[in-house]
């Protein structure tokens, strides 16, 4: 037992007292804080306003466009976009980009330009000359037949790469043309606006006891928890592997085996590294809780109301339990791989399958978030290998009955017993086999003979 504790202490210190651990541990909250704060900062920084000349021979579009691009309207849109971004983490990349653009909302300054009696060629030449002279940033040519399907709106810009400005302008222009079409069709625009207003759609979950609860926030939390467990399992699983490979590669194993039982050494390593992972996860969860608290306060100060997910101490206890279950499952697999191979590079190739399984588990958590009570969610949150990620996600999305959690713990506990048993047998023999990588039949022989 004393030797076992010596191994635990050694492995724990080896990880925790390293710069990489400190940086990794601190970096995550900083990045998380960055995600929470940076958009708010960017949102307040605006690019320089774009000086634009609008050539509108019809005299119908330009006024509406100017109105759509007014400062108030852009601010209004940005506020809406921010609200959507907070409550919709599963948005596609495209949607996120769109939203980002809306949040940034560029300002436009309209430059007067009189096109009276000039030909299109002449207008282009004159305006382009102004751009070259830096008197103007962009100009827009509205065609005379603005409503025809073949009508081409031409936009010339000094800042052709400015997708934010381009997009804002395009949206405003579309809107302006649409209103003009409505007016031409004798439809009252203000009436149409009232009629086509979006409904207020509020999602409320109902928990087991029939109480209402807010789902938006708990599902962000579920996603974050799934991600955290996935990342820590992947990192610490591989940490186990490189620690095992180091002792094999440097032949320290032989000295260690002449001092303590291989099983003690392996378990000590698993427990020590596991505690290091737990330390990191604890720091992250605590800082996440603080950040969420601060974030919520900030948001409500900005007039955006989001509710705090309802996380109980029991839930946090479950996360740690499932993290540990996952850790021992993956750590024993990685220890087994480490004892089989001769170098970290070789181990890297072999660690692909377990990482894949881990990733699949992480992807399943999306299905669980969407429907925590489906058949699929039930099975993946019980199954060994997947449960350590999917069950905490499910508990946060909607806590399943206790027997399911208990069953999941039991099944994964049994999986750990089996995997540790296998790993210990491979470890005992593999650690003293130098020179070449063990083949699967060889490993199978060790397992049977040991």
């Amino acid at each position: 037992m004393r030797k076992f504790l010596a191994v635990v202490k050694h492995e724990y210190k080896k990880i925790v007292l390293k710069w990489a651990f400190l940086i990794g541990t601190l970096l995550f909250p900083i990045i998380a804080a960055g995600f929470a704060i940076v958009p708010a900062i960017i949102f307040s920084i605006k690019g320089e306003p774009t000086r634009i000349a609008v050539v509108d021979p019809t005299g119908k579009i330009a006024t509406r466009l100017k109105e759509n691009l007014s400062a108030e309207r852009i601010r209004e849109k940005a506020r809406q976009a921010t609200k959507d971004a907070v409550t919709d983490v599963t948005a596609s990349q495209e949607e996120k980009m769109q939203r980002g653009v809306e949040q940034l909302g560029e300002n436009f300054v309209f430059v007067d330009y009189s096109e009276d009696g000039k030909s299109l060629e002449q207008i282009r030449r004159e305006l382009s000359a102004k751009i070259t002279a830096k008197e103007l940033d962009a100009y827009l040519l509205i065609p005379r037949d603005f409503d025809s399907p073949e009508a081409k709106y031409e936009f010339f810009s000094r800042k052709a790469g400015d997708f934010v400005g381009e997009r804002t302008l395009r949206d405003a222009l579309n809107e302006a043309v649409r209103s003009q079409r409505l007016a031409d069709a004798q439809i009252d625009e203000s009436k149409l606006k009232t009629l086509s207003r979006n409904v207020t759609f509020e999602t409320k979950g109902v928990d087991e006891k029939g109480n209402e609860k807010d789902t938006d926030s708990s599902f962000i939390a579920a996603f974050i928890i799934g991600l955290m467990i996935y990342i820590t399992l992947a990192i610490y699983g591989q940490a186990i592997m490189s620690a095992v490979v180091e002792e094999k590669e440097t032949r320290i194993a032989e000295i260690l085996f002449s001092s303590a039982k291989p099983f003690e050494l392996m378990m000590g390593k698993l427990v020590g590294v596991g505690l290091a992972g737990l330390t990191q996860l604890a720091i992250w969860i605590i800082s996440a809780l603080i950040l969420v608290g601060v974030g919520v306060a900030q948001m409500s100060a900005a007039g955006i109301s989001i509710s705090i997910p309802n996380i109980t101490p029991l839930m946090i206890a479950y996360f740690f339990i499932f993290f540990l279950l996952g850790f021992f499952i993956y750590a024993s697999i990685f220890a087994l791989i480490g004892a089989m191979v001769t170098s970290v590079q070789e181990g890297g190739q072999f660690s692909f399958p377990p990482i894949m399984i881990l990733l699949i588990g992480f992807y399943f958590s999306f299905a669980v978030i969407r429907d925590p009570n489906s058949q699929l969610s039930f099975w993946v949150s019980i199954a060994p290998f997947f449960a350590p990620i999917t069950m905490p996600v499910r508990i946060l999305s909607e806590t399943p009955p206790f027997w399911q959690i208990g069953l999941s713990i039991l099944i994964n506990g049994l999986a750990i017993a089996a995997l540790v048993w296998l790993a210990a047998r491979v470890y005992r023999v593999g650690m003293l086999m130098y020179g070449k990588r063990a083949t699967i039949p060889e490993v199978w022989k060790w397992i049977r003979q040991a």
Partner: protein
């Protein structure tokens, strides 16, 4: 403990890996307080035998007794094992590594720290205590590994090629350290290919080849049992005596002396008398013992044939 107590007894031990027999019915014993040379070519089964002694693996048949008890993991705390293939944690401070190795042998931390300081000082490495392995030369690392084997003050030391990677000055230094340990009545099993060093250090030896014991016993016994009648001779005259086929088997001419191999049962004293009688002037007449190296090569060749 008296000189003749037995530290280690290996009895009819065999170990097989699949179809391959690594150790075949091997028996020997090591007396306490003596330096025991465990010799043999690569692949003879030395490492397998040592691993069974230190309790890393276990024999298929036969019995190993250490300090008059069956080998067990509890006895590991009384053994210091320096494996032939050995290493240190690359990015760890020397002090931390040594503390860990000591803790694994159940040495309390305060005592471990005291011994670490003592040994680093003895090895003239005190300045390197806080350095990492990667900052040390190969020779220094060898010495640190040696320290890790003696930190728990073991009664039995098993040193497998302890001097590899050391320069001649450091080899001499380490031989001195081993001699000190012997003076403190430690039993030392010393496995090596360097016959010259073995000859200097060992009281007893065993030579194994192809999983089996070839010869064993005290160095003196082994040498006399090998008993080749070799005479190193420098003289003028007496050629007729040396041509006597009943007396001399072979003559090898060196620069200024001859190596004479006598026939079996021939008495060196008889040769000396007859040379004097023949009126030869003798400036050197020495009965040469075979070196351990000669015995090693000869015996290994014999068993490989």
């Amino acid at each position: 403990m008296t000189e003749q107590n037995t530290t280690l007894k290996v009895e009819n031990v065999s170990k097989r890996y699949g179809d391959f027999t690594a150790v075949d019915n091997l028996s020997f014993s090591v007396k306490s307080g003596r330096v025991f040379g465990f010799l043999g070519p690569n692949g003879a089964g030395k490492t397998t035998t040592i691993r069974m002694i230190v309790g890393i693996t276990f024999p298929d048949t036969g019995k190993i007794e250490l300090f008059n008890q069956q080998v067990s993991t509890e006895l590991q705390n009384r053994i210091g094992y320096l494996p032939e293939e050995r290493g240190l944690y690359k990015k760890m401070k020397i002090q931390d590594q040594l503390r860990y190795f000591a803790a694994l042998k159940n040495v309390p931390q305060a005592e471990a720290d005291r011994r670490i300081d003592f040994w680093l000082d003895r090895m003239r490495l005190a300045d390197w205590k806080k350095k990492k392995t990667t900052d040390l030369s190969k020779g220094m690392q060898q010495k640190i590994q040696f320290i890790s084997t003696v930190l728990h003050d073991p009664d039995l030391l098993i040193l497998d090629e302890p001097f590899s990677g050391l320069d001649p000055v450091n080899v001499e230094f380490m031989i001195e350290v081993v001699a000190e340990l012997k003076a403190r009545h430690k039993t030392i099993i010393f496995s090596t290919h360097l016959m010259e060093t073995a000859e200097r250090l060992c009281d007893d030896i065993i030579l194994i080849n192809k999983s089996r014991k070839i010869v064993g016993g005290s160095i003196r016994e082994v040498k006399s049992s090998f008993g080749k009648n070799l005479i190193s001779l420098r003289c003028e005259g007496g050629e007729t005596v040396l041509l006597d086929k009943n007396l001399v088997n072979k003559i090898v001419e060196h620069a200024d002396e001859k190596e004479i191999e006598l026939t079996e049962n021939a008495d060196p004293q008889n040769l000396l008398r007859r040379l004097i009688e023949s009126g030869a002037t003798i400036t050197k007449f020495e009965q040469v013992e075979p070196s351990l190296n000669d015995i090693f090569i000869e015996k290994v060749k014999e068993t490989n044939a």
